[in-house]
């Protein structure tokens, strides 16, 4: 059967006028925090007054001369991308009328090698978006109707924010203020919050994404994987992907290196219930039954040990607990795993032997979004153990020893010691969480008799929490209990509608930020500088945080008038300067941490209790957890329901790009992938809109298009995350596609580190417009 699926964007026949009549059920919530449509401005709206806080001519005037591009009328300015968090360095090209015409990768940057991904290439769409937040907004309570926003000057909005935060601190203590952040500017608000006396600083990238991986890696190797992952894909001979859909997950450097590996004839093994793009590039695709990956991993470990295919020298020298592991997995044979995973024993053996043949130039990829089933730390522990048996950690073609560029920090007063932290809300729990839990702070915002206090104010920077945290009702319930919330963003997002104050940040193309120092094979630094002045009345994040700090009496923590002073000083300390970086954008510093790989026989001290790679973890055992991973059976979908699997499209980043004109031109809505056998049962047709209903009776606010495809198992459906916006101000994204987060009401909590497993939700189809979503 041949099935054509074209992204012929100029050939789209019609755009359905999507359900303009539906109002999200959250819009008419009758709690004390109504959702405000930003278009409902004007009631009591003040004229925009920008007096007082113009930043002075230095930054806000000309962003600098830029470098003239030969033979064109263009100038270019260095930047690093913020459309996702891989942070590729590039050049912003500006024409003589100060229009941003394109963004092109910086050839010297190892994150992108001169080639941005579609999102980075589509970056101008973020700048040009006419739906952007344009001016500070303050919530107005109306006794006889819903709340509204009124426009405010920066001076007023910042004064008000500072006053409210201080009031919350006076009444409940500064520890009751939390920061949720994602993105470059989060650091400034983190400094502000620490100076204020709270260290409740969380990013959903931990508990909703990478957390189990980092916890598992720390337990095994004594260090986190980090981003970018130190996977030596370009030189690998065997790449094993467990649900990682590189190529759809467009983390640029990894996609590039995977392509290089394909050129060099590397074996790719992909484990996925869906025939992902990566699966289509693989020598072996293991179409696993969802939620059974750990059984497969344990059986691979069994084969390596039973067939004595593991790297004996490496294991003897670098690992702790091998004999216990051997005993642990002795019955976890491929035959044992077959009944769980549906993967045939000979295929399990064959793929284990392929890994061993390539070892140590083999990568069993640690994954990135790994919060699936609540036993995720243990599953990634199995991945870590498998890599140790293959000797790939510290080997060429396995994992390299990354190095991060270190810049000196500005001198500030010491931060006060907070009296309480988020951990006090969870006594005895999640001790191995290395970072704060965004979901944990959200839950601890809802008052409970089990806790003496709860969070009272949130600062939300660049993260659209209702479409990020699982269980949207719970998130909105938490928000309804806040005394105060301030949201800093470039776009009106669902979260900004619930804020008391909304502060518009300018986009990454219009601002300076801190020097990028993310790790790589060599330590690199990259500069982001504005190519144009900020549009509308938006301001850079650093400026917003600094102004707030000054109004809160914490100005000493931002010891500069303009961030360029800090950047120039930091750069000069490492032998560069702002002037130099404005010309080159990216600079390689000297590697000082030693070789990229372990040498044979080298004695390595790992940062674990035993000083070795811990196949057996006394630390986990001590906390009451399995010291070695144990397979647990997870619930399966009931009759007529299908497991909801979600993932990414290469041209979108979560929900933050859904209104970018350049990117929705490539993909304007998500669709739900349905196996043809299932489609036949339900009499579904490709292109038909259906509503989704989950196991808890939650019905999707918006319908989603069916895509019937052989690329998905019959017990699962798949959709791309980040669509189904209910925010009318997002004129292009509003009501397009369904929101997977809305369907994720069941959370399988990882008891080790508090990760929110989100793959245990099951959905069914409603082919008729359901009554309950009409209002």
């Amino acid at each position: 059967m041949i099935h054509l699926y074209c992204l012929l964007i100029n050939k789209a026949i019609c755009i359905l006028n999507l359900h303009q009549n539906y109002i999200s059920r959250y819009l008419d919530m009758t709690n004390r925090r109504d959702f405000i449509k930003i278009s409902a401005l004007g009631l009591g709206g003040a004229a925009i007054a920008t007096s007082g806080y113009n930043i002075g001519s230095k930054l806000m005037a000309a962003p600098g001369d830029g470098e003239k591009v030969k033979g064109t009328n263009l100038k270019r300015y260095p930047t690093y991308c913020e459309v996702c968090f891989w942070k590729c360095a590039g050049w912003t090209y500006v024409d003589e009328d100060n229009n941003i015409v394109k963004v092109i990768g910086n050839d010297d940057d190892p994150h992108c090698n001169g080639r941005l991904c579609p999102r980075g290439t589509g970056g101008p769409g973020m700048y040009n978006d006419e739906d952007r937040l344009k001016t500070p907004l303050i919530r107005v309570k109306n006794e006889n109707g819903p709340d509204t926003f009124r426009e405010a000057s920066w001076d007023e909005a910042l004064d008000y924010t500072a006053k409210r935060l201080k009031e919350v601190a006076a009444e409940h203590g500064p520890e009751c203020v939390a920061l949720f952040n994602h993105g470059s500017g989060g650091k400034y608000f983190g400094t502000l919050l620490k100076a204020f006396g709270s260290n409740n600083i969380a990013a959903p990238s931990f508990a909703q994404c990478r957390g189990p991986r980092e916890t598992a890696w720390i337990a095994t190797y004594g260090e986190a994987v980090g981003s970018p992952e130190p996977t030596d894909i370009r030189d690998t001979q065997c790449l094993v992907l467990i649900g990682s859909h590189i190529g759809e997950n467009m983390h640029n450097g990894q996609v590039q290196e995977m392509s290089d590996a394909i050129d060099k004839g590397a074996t790719i093994i992909t484990v996925d219930p869906r025939f992902s793009t990566a699966a289509s590039k693989s020598k072996y695709w293991l179409p696993i039954k969802p939620a059974t990956d750990l059984a497969l991993l344990l059986s691979w470990i069994n084969v390596l040990i039973e067939e004595e295919l593991y790297n004996k020298e490496y294991v003897a020298q670098h690992t702790y607990g091998f004999e216990m592991l051997k005993e642990h997995v002795k019955n976890m044979t491929p035959e044992w795993a077959y009944g769980k995973t549906t993967i045939k024993p000979d295929l399990i053996r064959k793929t284990a032997r392929e890994m061993a043949k390539a070892a140590p130039a083999v990568i069993v990829h640690p994954g990135r979004h790994v919060t699936w089933y609540g036993d995720d730390t243990q599953r990634i522990r199995a991945v870590a153990i498998l890599n140790a048996l293959l000797g790939s950690w510290g080997a060429r073609g396995g994992f390299y020893m990354k190095e991060t560029a270190h810049l000196p920090h500005e001198t500030t007063p010491p931060f006060p010691t907070p009296k309480r932290t988020w951990r006090d809300a969870y006594p005895g729990q999640f001790k191995l969480a290395s970072l704060a839990l965004s979901s944990g702070i959200c839950d601890a915002t809802i008052p409970s008799s089990n806790r003496s206090c709860s969070f009272k104010a949130w600062i939300v920077y660049g993260t659209n929490l209702p479409l990020t945290l699982p269980n949207m009702d719970n998130t909105l319930n938490a928000i309804s209990h806040l005394d105060f919330m301030v949201a800093i963003d470039t776009m009106p997002m669902e979260v900004t509608g619930y804020a008391d104050v909304v502060l518009p940040e300018c986009t990454y193309l219009e601002r300076y930020d801190l020097i990028r120092t993310s790790p790589h094979r060599e330590p690199y630094i990259a500069l982001r500088m504005p190519a144009v002045e900020p549009k509308y009345d938006s301001k850079p994040g650093w400026w917003i945080a600094k102004q707030l700090a000054e109004k809160m009496g914490l100005g000493d923590y931002f010891p500069y008038d303009d961030i360029t002073e800090l950047l120039d000083w930091q750069l000069k300390e490492v032998g560069s300067s702002l002037e130099e970086m404005q010309k080159i954008g990216v600079k390689k510093l000297e590697r000082t941490s030693g070789p990229l790989y372990f040498s044979k026989g080298e004695n390595i001290e790992f940062n674990t209790p035993s000083g070795k790679i811990e196949l057996y973890s006394n630390e986990l055992a001590g906390e009451g957890f399995d010291p070695m991973p144990v397979f647990t059976k997870h619930p399966e979908p009931p009759q007529g329901f299908y497991r909801l699997i979600y993932g990414r499209a290469p041209m979108h980043t979560f929900s933050r790009t859904a209104n970018n004109a350049n990117l929705i031109d490539l993909k304007k809505e998500n669709n739900v992938w349905v196996n043809p056998k299932v489609a036949k049962l339900w009499d579904l047709k490709t292109g038909q809109y259906v509503w989704l209903k989950n196991q808890d009776g939650v019905v999707s606010t918006y319908p989603i298009k069916v895509r019937i495809t052989e690329r998905i198992r019959w017990d699962s459906v798949y959709m791309v995350h980040g669509f189904g916006h209910s925010k009318k101000e997002l004129t292009r994204a509003y009501g397009r596609g369904a929101n997977d987060t809305e369907m994720i009401t069941k959370v399988m909590m990882d008891p080790i580190m508090g990760g929110t497993g989100m793959r245990g939700n099951f959905i069914t189809f409603l082919t008729e417009k359901p009554e309950e979503v009409e209002s």
Partner: protein, 177 residues
Amino acid sequence: MRYAMAVDTKKCVGCSDCVVACQTENNVPIGFCRDWITETVDGSYPNVEIELRSERCNHCENAPCVRCCPTGASHIVDGGVVLVTHDECIGCGACIQSCPYDARYSHPDGYVDKCTFCMHRVEKGQLPACVAVCPTKCLYFGDLDDPNSDVSNALRNRKYKVLADEAGTNPQIYYLI
């Protein structure tokens, strides 16, 4: 000189970067495109295959669009590149009908537009925008008459196909399979 392109379907991930890079490089209006991605799925679960292709004007040697153009706006230049002179185009759409690859569109300004192989870049020694941006490096461009060009090298050691061979257009976009 004979410009051509090879697309490695074994490396393309269908990310559409070529599409958006072309749009920003060539100021193609939002909602239109000069290149696009096609995905073909074959087989049934779990024996499935996908072919992903970045497609565009095939710069045919025997170009029906050029033959049917009443004004001569569609023409072939040195290197075999098919171009449209916007000023001479009356937007009649005959070329759009005649193209077996559906590679042309009506620009809102009233003329027909399509891929130019980014000749404005190639003349300066640069690669077409789609080739330069592709994260998987699955696009190879160059002169087929030069045995050392990227495209000649790519075609030398691999099996390849062209689209709608039966149309007799002698297309110059090759798909490595």
